[in-house]
Subunit: 143 residues, 2 copies
DNA sequence: ATAAACCTTGGATATAGGTCTAAGGTCAAG
DNA sequence: CTTGACCTTAGACCTATATCCAAGGTTTAT
């Protein structure tokens, strides 16, 4: 069992953030101590880890809540609902990954084309590489 | 040449957003009409496309500005600087992709394990699938 | 027994990224 | 030559996601 400050420190966030998540319905401690302290279990810690990872890849707190709420509501849901929600999130992720891949290709092409020397970048065609639709970027490089 | 409203409409954003990007130093129209209207070129349109794609994959406007500024500053930069910045962004992208992949695996595992039927999801172990570190999720599924 | 950490409610402030309003000027169509 | 769409600026306002602070009280650690 972790107290709020311990859990916060473990993830390098503030206690305030945990109270905030609680208010937002994302993560409530599994119990309170007799003196009223929030007591977080390993399970809570896992959930927090999930929340932070989801945030890191661009899900909003609302998105995350909807994922977490599957658990809460599952007594009242049917598998078809669960599966539909999960599949929707899978699609979101696939879209994000496709965009990232596209970006990576552009930037990689640029990095490859740039000599990386200490000479002026005057002719280094960054934006061309970034903006053009793949394939036809020419790098007859300078210097 | 596009007027602000035309360009905005083409990307389904507000004219306000374009003015905002201009104030933030992200994208200024190449010229103004005699009456002061912002006039955007094809090149500007390409840059906007770049900005929006970068945003869509989670780069902040500040990040994007730093990428765009390579172009602006390149007369004063050397290839080494350009390459360093680009490589840093490549690393960012790789990190995001790794996280997304991890997420995708978790969710996919869940989707696979869930029967998707109209029966109660009471035993559908969503959070277990989401939270556990890969590999050891057991789905001896219900019903 | 004192400090450090925690609790509460409630509100202020911050940052990012817009979105809207007010008060006016410009332009194309009928 | 009027109407309605579009433009200008400056600044107010909004949401999401926190972070901080106040005031007053309790608990835990040393
Ligand atoms: Zn170069
Ligand atoms: Zn070079
Ligand atoms: Zn199921
Ligand atoms: Zn099922």
């Amino acid at each position: 069992m972790y107290r709020i400050g311990e859990l916060a420190k473990a993830f390098e966030i503030k206690s305030d953030t945990l109270r905030f998540y609680e208010k937002q319905g994302l993560l409530a401690p599994s119990s309170r101590s007799s003196s009223g302290y929030r007591m977080y279990t390993e399970q809570d810690k896992q959930t927090l880890s999930f929340i932070l990872r989801a945030k890191a890849v661009g899900f909003s707190l609302a998105d995350i809540k909807s994922l977490l709420s599957i658990e809460v509501d599952k007594a009242n849901s049917v598998c078809a609902d669960v599966k539909a929600l999960v599949n929707a999130k899978l699609t979101d992720i696939e879209v994000k990954m496709a965009e990232l891949t596209r970006f990576h290709i552009s930037l990689q092409r640029l990095a490859d084309a740039c000599c990386g020397s200490a000479k002026s970048a005057e002719h280094c065609t960054v934006l061309e590489a970034l903006e053009s639709d793949v394939d036809q970027v020419r790098h007859e490089h300078h210097h």
